[in-house]
Subunit: 231 residues, 2 copies
């Protein structure tokens, strides 16, 4: 597939590297290519900035958001902070997004009052729904947003079975994303299709618990599993 | 222990039966004893009404909220719908609640617009915090609110390890609740102390996901486990 990844942070980098390693053509989108390439070294979290990272991944191209979607139109991966979603997609434009499948990994985290973050939208709405409403012809699939990026692309990092949730209105788009998840190593039985995009409220609202667990466990290498009754 | 359980629904019944079976003296509190005893047969969910249930549990007494707390003062269990919490505790009164430990199992679910419910409070506040603020001398411990009542009192119903969260400001109160959880069969390693009562935001906000999983899995017999990295 030709895949566009919107976002140059650690989530975008993890997805880009994995998709490239799986043989897909990957185009990373950013607001301004020159500004992004000028960033070298590590970010505040100790992850490489995209400028340094690009040098290690010569098969991957860095383009504007719009150019990336033009090149990588088989699947769009939205991997930025949630608050940036509508601005970013606006710069791509509704026409290019029509009929496309977008895997939305983002969460509407608000760090403006420090840690722990709250959500900018929740309860009776979700970021996934807001994106879907703003771009009705885009097939939004919310997934992977309930775990850290090393776990997203390598579920075998963790002990035993653990779960990944999928939310979206379009059944074929959810199949496409589920196939991608399987190619990352997710067992089909651990992929839980919750239903339409309104179920993204549930997965986005797990973030406040995720953040507290991260503080408690002192590692982002964990995930939720759904344990069922004994047979 | 002498335990008071505020609430006559299926959660209150499950906790009362378990605590009584473990040898504790149990006093169930309700708004109006006569009204509650007049209810027989099954409720809308197919569970026995408290009137019928009391006949099967002769060792357990049904009293008013206030009388129940007077009799069962070693531990208070709040097992009603979240929206009823402040009214219920108001009828007990701050004086009786001073210095007591209260296990709060409730969630601020709002079914006024049907299914799925939203939350009446979330994100920058929680029901656990509201109760703690209203009764500063009450030691509120939020726990068990992330699962169905059969799982609360019998974790061995489910496959493998799975998690129960604890939130509260008072360390000794959390120890008391954790000891109770262990007596229900919870392994110490599966009891996760998230921190102070503000962490109840996280566990209450998992409910929208719980509700969707219930719809998807068609059974309330499941729970969240936190899976960690392979060693």
């Amino acid at each position: 597939m030709k895949v566009s990844i919107l976002g140059t942070g650690s989530v975008g980098q993890a997805l880009a590297a994995k998709l490239s390693a799986l043989g897909h053509s990957v185009f990373i989108g950013t607001r301004n290519v020159g500004d992004s390439l000028a960033k070298t070294g590590a970010d505040n979290w100790g992850n490489p900035q995209i400028g340094a990272w690009m040098g290690l991944h010569p098969n991957i191209q860095l383009l504007t958001f719009k150019e990336a979607v033009v090149q990588g139109s088989d699947l769009i991966v939205f991997a930025m902070n949630g608050h940036a979603a509508l601005d970013c997609l606006n710069s791509v434009g509704a026409e290019l997004l029509t009929g496309k499948v977008m895997l939305d990994i983002s969460n509407p985290l608000d760090f403006s009052k420090g840690f722990p973050p709250s959500l900018t939208v929740c309860n009776t709405d979700s970021l996934g729904e807001q994106i879907q409403k703003a771009y009705p012809a885009l097939k939004v699939v919310k997934s992977l947003n309930t775990m850290s990026n090393p776990v997203m692309v390598n579920p075998a990092l963790l002990e035993g079975d653990h779960s990944v949730f999928v939310s979206g209105n379009d059944a074929s788009a959810k199949v496409k994303v589920s196939e991608l998840l399987k190619s990352f190593g997710w067992a089909e039985s651990n992929i839980i299709d919750l239903g339409d995009i309104t179920t993204a409220r549930g997965t986005e609202m797990i973030l406040p618990l995720w953040v507290r667990l991260y503080g408690k466990l002192q590692t982002p290498l964990f995930n939720f599993n759904i344990n069922m009754a004994k047979k």
